[in-house]
Symmetry: C2
DNA sequence: TTAAATGTAATAACACTTGTTACATTTAAA
DNA sequence: TTTAAATGTAACAAGTGTTATTACATTTAA
């Protein structure tokens, strides 16, 4: 992860969790994190797909949480935005004529998967609710 | 990590570990992974700084492991190439006028650090020797 | 009917990664 | 002493991914 998507999305969810049952609009959310409102609407689309957020179009529209914050784990959030393995990418064309090149990606697949699972296991014990409780 | 550096570096180290006490040159290593030899020499520079690899310039030069493969943990390798937190980057300018914006990066610092430590703890139990033993 | 919101496409700006060329320097061996 | 073959490294190019921005069709409450 070399991007801000996890930080951005958990920021949104925290704001929504702190104002339950209120329609917050993308300009307001964008202002809290000082990023572009179009990015906000794109990421909110992802959160809607997950069923975590409900949005309403039109005048006085906006977004709110669709499930209790205790039902969203940080592992769920991570999986929703993750676009690479923790240990990065594999090289695409290791040389099959070399004994290491021939087998390395199988070994790395195993290691990369195990490492990702360690992260998910650790994050699965934490919920959005726990995270939000840190905020005054 | 959205790059191939971990995969690349562990590939090098595996090759060097399989041919102890031989000077392997960067063209040979590059060919095994099918990447550019200049990248190989750059990354080998990093491994030299760590004390893991010794290189010799000039005719019949090359590189070899400088320590036993059992002394290099995968956590050490990860730390040497890591350039971002597991959960990515924080947003640079959250709005201090917003109660979430004001506190979010402190909360994220803690979470990001904890998550990185989980990965390092898991990788610290694995050594380069363990990894190399998978190769016929 | 209108004002204000979402959804989304297209594109630009920026940053990071990887590849490539070139060459000075080093060093073992002929 | 010369030479061939290697590293080390700078400069630049190409490719990829991220984030910002503009524009606008669509939706909807008031």
């Amino acid at each position: 992860m070399n991007n801000t998507r996890f930080a951005t999305v958990i920021h949104f969810l925290t704001i929504l969790a702190k104002s339950p049952d209120q329609w917050l609009n993308s300009d307001w959310i964008a202002n809290s994190i000082q990023i572009n409102p179009v990015i906000v609407r794109k990421e909110l689309g992802l959160l809607q797909e997950q069923g975590w957020v409900i949005s309403r179009k039109g005048k006085d529209g906006g977004s709110m949480l669709g499930v209790p914050s205790s039902k969203i784990s940080l592992a769920d959030i991570y999986k929703a935005v993750k676009n690479a393995n923790v240990l990065g990418k594999k090289n695409l064309n290791p040389n099959p004529k070399c004994s290491v090149g021939k087998q390395v990606n199988t070994a790395l697949d195993k290691l990369f998967t195990e490492t990702d699972e360690v992260v998910c296991a650790a994050l699965s014990h934490k919920t959005l609710k726990n995270f939000v409780e840190q905020f005054a």
